[in-house]
Symmetry: C2
Subunit: 144 residues, 2 copies
Amino acid sequence: MAITVASLSFKTLAQSAPIFPKGELATTKTHVGDVWLREVSGPDSTFAFSIAQAVFAPGARLDWHSHPGGQVLMFTDGEGYYQERGKPRQTIHKGELVKCQPGVEHWHGATPTSSVTYLATSPSQKGKTIWFKRVTDEEYGTKK
Amino acid sequence: MAITVASLSFKTLAQSAPIFPKGELATTKTHVGDVWLREVSGPDSTFAFSIAQAVFAPGARLDWHSHPGGQVLMFTDGEGYYQERGKPRQTIHKGELVKCQPGVEHWHGATPTSSVTYLATSPSQKGKTIWFKRVTDEEYGTKK
């Protein structure tokens, strides 16, 4: 159940172009704000994991959700938030990595004032993401 | 046996800091030039793959090798070379991805004039990298 945040020594707020093209503006109903998703590498018979890039505009965040197979997030640009149910919201920076453990309800997104980009590596064949409630403004920290 | 190069539309020669700290200067005998390796995420019982960042100084390259389980390379900065045995050497840029198929002999590294950084995702529990001959100056393109 532990959250692992690696590489805490390397921090920058510099914003730069994402490594891969931004991709499509997400039209799903499971987030607020502007989120661009791009599948970088799909799972196949040799590589049983997918890699996707997500870019969040300031203020954008996913709803609470969980992954049956877990997910490894590598933050490649900007500054974002990550929170697991029952734990404090954490600020995550470029050069940090979060392992979302299987079945642990959590959310992530940009901060109110910074965009954020991450690469998400997800084991395949473990089932789809399970979506829960919207992140409230209180949880996001923009309303006390 | 096919090489897959994705995201060919996004190219830049701008050099910037690697996403993760550079890590240790490699002391192995299976490369020439300066190579910095950093394990970003080790395999565990939940995530059956490792993620490592490699930074190559201009002119640095690995020896010919193969991976029993294959390897996905995401180029995050600079410009490098990738070559499979019996095929032409290819120039790879930031924002491109290469799937090294299991058992296919290949090498990769920086170009003579640019550093290169990639994130390598490797399925675990398939065995260690198998090393072959050094890349010659003729193969590297610095001697005709």
